[in-house]
């Protein structure tokens, strides 16, 4: 049976990649000043997306389908 943690990994990985990509796009193509969120200069999407991607990838690898999973 596929572990629940594998599904968590998939969710974090896919969402992380999407958020990281959107963050990078905004980094290279910043919106107009009136369209920016507060603390835009911190580029939270880039580092939060990267963090989620890494955690998701680790979960996917560690809990990939196979025997003796939760």
């Amino acid at each position: 049976m596929v572990s629940i943690w594998f599904f968590i990994g998939i969710s974090l990985l896919v969402n992380g990649v999407l958020i990281f990509g959107a963050g990078l796009y905004e980094y290279w193509h910043p919106p107009a000043l009136e369209g920016r969120v507060q603390l835009f200069e911190l580029h939270a999407g880039v580092w939060w997306g990267a963090l989620m991607t890494v955690i998701g990838a680790v979960y996917c690898y560690y809990f990939k389908p196979g025997p003796k999973k939760i």
Partner: protein, 567 residues
């Protein structure tokens, strides 16, 4: 004339970009995929209703916590933090942690070794059929109505936050829940609750991080709140000496005895919606560890709920107002604080994740309600009262059909609330009537072997009726609150606390008096059900750091330290 809620439509709070929509759609696809994947593992009653009783402590614990971590809970308590300050944290700390530890160490062994399918099922074993019938019917009825109320409220939120059509939100979310719970049963609900737990943290944790950065740290935040509101907004206990010294209009007696000792104990130890997740644990150690793991994480939920509300007080440029004022003026209400903070800091992608977290919270809450309703209907109403001779396969089919019917009743309730908004207040009040007396009945049943069937049944009935009576009294004459809550300065929240306390006491007194006047069960009949007559199985010969009692102690120490820090 009441204006139907559906027609009050303020401007939407946020606009989703393409990547946000992709994230939301991906969530729906993933939960349906999980449901289809698990459909082959829900063929027996144990599989469908109890998830095969094979959940690990972590899965059961996170699911136990998630079942209570709905979107309305998140937004409601963030709004309460904006309105009342850090006092709202009491519902996460003293109003949860002691009860969760009590469930783990004292009550869980009885639930687990009795192999009951539900809390009403335990009442049947301990007090007989009448007590089970009262508990099961009231729980099933109220659970499915609450599910509908929450469904409507969430659809309303989606309309306000995203501008989504209210019918679209109701039908898409309810059909998705119906599909994955019908296919995978409780296991599917639990898997999605754990998924929701991660999504909520991933989607909401950025708000306090960025908010504290903008506010200049916790010390500066406290100064700003003191200037814009009051110094009492950042103290947990120091203003609870009297009803007038704190923004909530409550005192420490209401918090300690009403909230912590009765309401919280009742909810976390007898509400089958949350207890069902623990009953699915694979062994006694997992069943005891699960609430402790839940308690450990529960202590930190204020980071993503209360702190955003406090930050809203300091950094939001506009002043938020009560719901009634917001509806009349078009201003933002207290309950909008979390979406407002989300929109303040989260750009494309992050916004989609935050919105997905809210949707996931709502859907898993609904799945929790529906799966609990299905189990209680099938095992505690249909099987004993309507058809006791069905096969296991028959009851599983009944469970699947009940899931669909439960969802449809919820949808019907949602539309009813849409036309008659006041129903929402009545349903929410009704739900609170049962919790405190039920706790009195269950705890006496577990700890006092002299409690009898008639005592348990009449205690539950009288406690519930007294709760209804107090509520109706205050509804008819609001000044009666001074008697129910013992002070003319008490506010609405204090009523809930004291009403629970009195109804619990009525339940206990009636149970004790009637039990002493009726014939007790023999010790042999109570083995496995009552403390002192039951050999609680050992968690095994394991190192101390793996024992539930050790981790309960760790959680308790952190709990006390946190309360002292924010005194």
């Amino acid at each position: 004339m009441n204006i139907p809620y559906a027609f009050i439509v303020p401007a939407r709070l946020v606009h989703l970009s393409t990547v946000d929509v992709i994230i939301v759609v991906f969530y729906f696809a993933l939960v349906l995929a999980i449901g289809f994947y698990l459909r082959g593992r829900a063929n027996t009653g144990e599989d469908f209703f109890m998830a095969g009783r094979e959940m690990t402590a972590w899965v059961a614990g996170l699911s136990f916590l998630s079942a209570n971590l709905g979107a309305l809970e998140l937004m409601g308590w963030a709004g309460s933090a904006y309105q009342y300050g850090i006092l709202a944290t009491h519902w996460y700390w003293i109003g949860a942690i002691p009860a969760m530890l009590f469930l783990a160490l004292v009550m869980m062994p009885f639930y687990y070794i009795s192999k009951t399918h539900s809390v009403p099922g335990y009442l049947k074993l301990r007090f007989g059929e009448p007590a089970r019938a009262v508990s099961a019917v009231s729980f099933a009825f109220m659970t499915v109505l609450m599910s509908g109320v929450n469904m409507f409220a969430m659809a309303k939120v989606m309309q306000i936050v995203l501008g989504w059509d209210i019918n679209f939100s109701i039908w898409v979310s309810s059909l998705t829940v119906a599909v994955y719970v019908t296919l995978g049963g409780l296991r599917s609900a639990i898997f999605n609750e754990v998924l929701q737990f991660f999504l909520i943290w991933a989607g909401a944790l950025l708000i306090p991080i960025l908010g504290l950065y903008e506010a200049g740290g916790w010390s500066n935040l406290k100064l700003q709140i003191a200037q814009r509101a009051s110094d009492q907004y950042v103290h947990l206990w120091s203003g609870l000496g009297s009803f007038t010294d704190n923004p909530m209009g409550i005192n420490w007696i209401g918090i300690v005895f009403g909230l912590a000792a009765v309401i919280s104990m009742g909810y976390w130890t007898t509400d089958f919606l949350v207890v069902q997740r623990i009953l699915a644990a694979k062994d006694i150690r997992s069943a005891e560890m699960a609430p402790i793991i839940g308690a450990g994480f529960k202590m930190f939920v204020p980071l993503i709920v209360i702190l955003p509300g406090l930050l809203g007080l300091a950094v939001l440029p506009m002043k938020l107002v009560p719901e009634s004022v917001a509806a009349a003026t078009g201003m933002h209400s207290y309950n909008d604080v979390l979406p407002l903070m989300l929109a303040r800091y989260c750009g494309p992608g992050l916004l989609g994740l935050g919105i997905t977290a809210l949707i996931a919270g709502f859907m898993s809450g609904m799945a929790g309600n529906v799966s609990a309703f299905t189990t209680v209907w099938t095992y505690d109403i249909y099987r004993p009262l309507i058809n006791s001779k069905g096969t296991d396969h028959h009851y599983v089919n009944m469970g699947r059909w009940t899931t669909v019917i439960g969802v449809l009743i919820s949808v019907g309730t949602a539309y009813l609330v849409m036309q008659f908004a006041s129903i929402m207040d009545y349903v929410q009040a009704l739900f609170s009537f049962f919790i405190a007396p039920l706790f009195g009945t269950v705890i006496l049943g577990m700890l006092w072997k002299r409690a009898t069937g008639p005592g348990g049944f009449l205690g539950l009935l009288c406690g519930t009726l007294s709760s209804v009576g107090m509520w109706a009294w205050v509804k008819a004459d609001p000044s009666a609150l001074r008697y129910v809550a013992l002070s003319p300065h008490a506010k609405a929240l204090a009523q809930d606390m004291f009403q629970a306390l009195w109804s619990f006491l009525v339940c206990v007194i009636v149970t004790v008096v009637v039990s002493l006047a009726t014939k007790p069960k023999t010790d042999a009949e109570l083995t496995g059900l009552v403390y002192g007559l039951t050999k609680v199985p050992s968690v095994g010969n394991i190192p101390v750091y793996q024992k539930p009692i050790f981790w309960a102690g760790v959680v308790a120490v952190v709990f006390f330290v946190l309360n002292i820090i924010f005194w």
